[in-house]
Amino acid sequence: MSGGVDSSVAAALLQEAGHDVMGVTLKLWSGPNGETPTAGCCTVSDAEDARRVAAQLDIPYYVLDHTDDFRDGVVDRFVHDYAIGRTPNPCIECNRTVKFDRLLSRLDDFECDVLVTGHHARSREVDGVWQLMRGRDAAKDQSYVLSMLTQRELSRTRFPVGELTKSEVRAVAADMGMRTAAKPESMDICFVGQRDYRGFLHDVAPGVFASGSVVDSDGRELAEHDGVAGFTIGQRRRLGVAVGEPRYVIRIEAGTSTVVVGRREELAVSEIGLEKLTWSRGSGSDGPVMAQYRAHGETAAGWLTEASLIFNEPQEAIAPGQTVAFYDGDVVLGGALIASAR
């Protein structure tokens, strides 16, 4: 229970269906100085919202400390990725390492059967195999951030809210008199809050910023920069470069602290190298897939092998460190981390 309307309604729906529900909020981050966040996601006031909903539903409610797991699996990873020129998605790493790994592994200790979240996704069991699918509300679908889940996780997780549209979720919450019915969604990274991520990196890992050159694709030096961590693929602004027409970051070479910029056409990507490939059903084979490489975006057709995905048509601006999810219609086949793009 994050304190948001989705997890609030998820708890209510399961309770309504007659299940024994226990609400938990994860304490993940204490700020660089140990202070509890008061802005961004997962703040003290969010925990308060969750507690209030739990009280309203009359279910046991606990706050669980996963700050160590989060620091190791998410924050350190975030810093490390930027240092090597990648653009991380910490919410996905949180799902991969904290929520659906460390927390999930405690289910038996808690004497609980399943973990329930407010994600807009659906899961179902077909002939003994668990399938993850897009949520009914295509605009709110969050199956992308769950694409790393395999049978181990899917068999013990439920996503009750995925059958509803966002407005239906809010309507259920309003009907129940939940104060979180109209609460706006948090778009911030929970440990960065309302700051720019660069400010966060400066505070937590200033060493990540080593100055270097901004060059064009011929290697010609155009400007200086004060750290590759300040750039992401496809970035057009804040390049410190003025050549009369737009330039975009097409490559980040962290080893030499070099940012390569080019014309729009040079953003085209026809193949991505993959890491941490997982198949929902446990195993898969090379073949055609529909791939989604942004949190909200169209899928693109491509040919998937264990090590790479080759797009049928060139795609624009894909940043290593991001995630690619594979679909067969609405069913998630699996996902992977993008290690390289060319």
Partner: protein
Amino acid sequence: MIYLDHAATTPMRPEVWEAMAPFGSEAFGNPSGVHGVSRTAKNALEESRERIASIIGAKPLEIVFTSGGTESDNLAIKGAVLNSTARQGLVTSAIEHEAVLETADFLKRLGMPVTIVGVDPDARVDPDEVAGAVSDDTAVVSVMMVNNETGTVQDVAALSEAAKRANRDVLFHTDAVQAFGCEAIDVNQLGIDLLTISAHKFGGPKGAGILYVREGTALEPVIHGGGQELGRRSGTHDVASAVGIATAVESALDDRERFETEISAIRDHMERSLVDEVGDLVVNTPKTGRSSHHLNVRFPGVRNETLLMLLDQRGVAASAGSACQSGAATVSHVLEAMGLTPDQARESVRFTFGWTSTLDEADRAAMIVTDIASRLR
């Protein structure tokens, strides 16, 4: 629910509630006033003060009513330090309650000298170390009589004596919040200048406490205003609370013998059961020099967070460290000061007994704890 978190708070004794009731209705007055309504309130307030004073060997005007243990600790330490003309500071121990340690941190940020003395594995403070830390730069020394997490009892008389040997003008404060009700407290026998008591720890109301301030001890008030409590603590008196504290103090005194024998036997019984049933259990509460009602134990390989949740589900209330603002348990600074690693501190749970505890409760709780602990390992 088997309630084993008396160190956090205790149920109010019925006679306390009864004694307090009239002061919300017919005896509602503000003690500071000329008329009869005020006088009734004032009489009750002063009578409460006398009752409390006589029990700890103090004079009535040496008792200051406060909003509880935290405020009393703040007043004692800030009051002493901010009253000194030279920039004198504080000597305290690593196992104090946050009310003392956070106050110490605040004073340090203001530029006062602050020394924090370590403890041994039993959380005991060494009088010689205190004497060594005290100098002419020290305004006050603060060491708690009984530690809230482990129940370790300090030799306050020896500590105070040692401190005053090093600087005869230094004030000695002790936080007796966990001690009152199980330890004998006579301020003259202890040789102390300042003492904190909190009513809700022994069957009294919450938000109610006292600070004993030895006559002749000047304190800078923390709360300024109308000048009540001889200027030491301004604000309209909560007479109901004062009466509640006095009644609770008397009941606790009457009950002290039972605490020393019966309640401590109940605690010992649970300790024995756990030690017998849980093979590698480690007892953090020291074997000697322990309170009558604390039992702090460590379950190797078990997360206290999970254990406490499951105990709650099975109707046993216990705790570990203190809860932070979001509700998550924090790692105990007391256990760490004793030499436990953060992981070991995270395996430790505190069971504390009180005036309502029974042997049957201890028995049932021990069985439930054992059952859960063995499943979690």
